[in-house]
């Protein structure tokens, strides 16, 4: 009986944490979508496809999905020079957008979970604020 109760409580706890984070992620993604259409869409385009040879794609982008820290830094401080995305070289400038850390987390969560991208590991405001320019 004791064991059953313990299992019950712990599973409820785990489930609620899981569901809670899920809801939090969903809200962050929704806010991120607005940020995206305000600051990002004119270069990276509506479906994250980018512009050929000019602005790299975000949809199914190996750079975005594998280089999380560098991607956050790019949004936060801007990005300049050569980068390789899905085997294609880009040499361009992305200015820093002047977003707040919370907005950066939101837009990261949006692009990490759109157009076929998937990341359960939510980007938090804390993670963005700890990311410093190197």
């Amino acid at each position: 009986m004791k064991l059953l109760l313990l299992t019950y409580i712990s599973s409820i706890l785990l489930l609620s944490i899981f569901l809670f984070q899920d809801k939090e992620l969903e809200e962050s993604i929704n806010r991120g979508e607005e940020i995206y259409s305000d600051f990002c869409i004119n270069c990276h385009m509506a479906n994250g496809e980018g512009v050929e040879k000019t602005f790299p794609p975000l949809a199914k982008s190996d750079f975005l999905l594998n280089k999380r820290e560098e991607s956050i830094r790019g949004v936060k401080y801007g990005q300049q020079g050569y980068i390789l995305v899905n085997g294609v070289a880009y040499n361009n400038v992305m200015p820093p957008m002047g977003l707040e850390d919370e907005e950066i987390a939101d837009v990261m969560n949006y692009i990490l979970n759109s157009w076929g991208n998937k990341s359960d590991n939510m980007v938090t405001t804390e993670e963005v604020s700890m990311n410093v320019n190197k």
Binding site: N42, M45, A46, V51, Q80, V93, P95, P96, G98
Partner: protein, 373 residues
């Protein structure tokens, strides 16, 4: 069977016509451009605007907020530059000199400003003088309201006309359904002021209840090119459309340029904004680009340094990263050519007092176009 020949003939003819329509939006490439581009100022991030002082030195705005005085091959950071709202497309924007700068010393600067009570920013215009590497005598001439945290469409460029009026542009600030068609609100407008910032008494809406009286024309989206046509004295703008539908317009007093009621563009998502490209009471552009090139600064070529280009218009493309040369026949674009292919995001282009063309490119710097002998 005999009939088929005229049918084929007509079909061919109509094919020709459809081709002719396409070439209107076709850009040609140049195999042998009549210049070499020399990078004269390097290591600039986003050189948004630049101008030439009488001693041959240059003033350059960096979007992030620095005003650079480039003299004798050295960059000096000018002090006492107003704080800018560096967010999205906002920051330190255009810089021009008064046409009589040699006598009055006035420099005009536009920027995104947080001035005011609301959170966010909007476009502001100042004039100031340059003394001992510092801006002095700064006067605020205009500040658009309300502030907003939206990142889009601050404009802004300056132009003086032959009568000495100061024109400047402010984009719709990302609120297209509210600002551009409402003359009681800022945004989506071309403005006209006297050089001291006062409102000309014959501005079109000075007697309209509640109107922003500095407004000269409205229904604009985001004009980031503004220039006087030196042949005619007219003020020309270019403006970013949405996806498709960038435009060149001739700015006339009190007129409505239609955004977002009429446009040749569509939403970034691919959905239509409107099914109308024209309407009575709204002006048509003299040229529009589909697809969008994302036009930035522009300049007319008037000097003798590039004889084949005299009277042509040069416009930077941010999106496709080249300098576009447009041949004109009056108010009609008759030929487009791509110069400096893949150079980078071309932010501004100007003809210097010495007649040479200079081009500002993001992440690179400023190039001088040196004619080939």
């Amino acid at each position: 069977m005999k009939n088929s020949i005229p049918i084929i003939f007509v079909a061919l003819l109509s094919l020709n016509f459809s081709c002719a329509q396409q070439t209107e939006n076709e850009v040609n490439t140049s195999d042998n451009p009549p210049f070499t581009a020399e990078l004269i100022i390097d290591e600039l991030q986003i050189p948004w605007g630049f101008t030439f002082l009488p001693d041959g030195s240059m003033l350059i705005t960096e979007k992030a907020g620095q005003l650079i005085h480039f003299k004798d091959g050295k960059k000096n950071m000018v002090n006492n530059v107003p704080a800018v709202y560096n967010r999205g497309q906002g920051g330190l924007l255009d810089v021009v000199l008064h046409p009589d700068y040699a006598n009055n010393g006035w420099i005009y600067i536009s920027f995104a400003s947080e001035d005011g009570d609301d959170k966010g920013g909007n476009t502001a215009i100042i004039r100031a003088k340059l003394n001992n590497n510092s801006l002095t005598d700064t006067q605020l001439l205009y500040k658009a309201t309300p502030n907003t945290t939206k990142g889009q469409h601050f404009g802004s460029r300056f132009a003086f006309d032959d009568s000495g009026y100061l024109f400047f542009s402010i984009g719709d600030r990302g609120d297209r359904d509210v600002n551009p068609q409402d003359i009681t609100r800022d945004g989506g407008k071309i403005y006209r002021l006297n050089a001291d910032g006062s409102i000309p008494s014959d501005n079109p809406f000075v007697n309209t209840e509640g109107a922003k009286t500095a407004i000269f024309s409205y229904g604009h989206r985001n004009p980031q090119g503004l220039v006087k046509n030196p042949m005619t004295g007219e003020i020309w703008d270019n403006e970013h459309g949405p996806q498709g539908g960038d435009e060149i317009n001739i700015v006339e007093k009190g007129k409505n340029y239609g955004w977002p009621v009429i446009t040749y563009g569509i939403n970034y998502s691919g959905t239509p904004i409107t099914d109308k490209t024209e309407m009575e009471g709204m002006e048509q552009p003299i040229h529009y680009w589909v697809p969008s090139i994302a036009p930035s600064g522009m300049a007319f070529v008037t000097s003798d340094k590039y004889p084949d280009w005299k009277g042509n218009l040069l416009i930077g493309s941010l999106k496709f990263q080249y300098l576009e040369r447009l041949e004109l026949n009056g108010h009609k674009v008759v030929y487009r050519e791509k110069l400096m292919p893949d150079i980078g995001r071309v932010r501004d282009v100007r003809q210097a007092p010495d007649g040479f063309i200079y081009v500002a490119v993001e992440g690179k710097g400023i190039y001088k176009l040196i004619p080939k002998k």
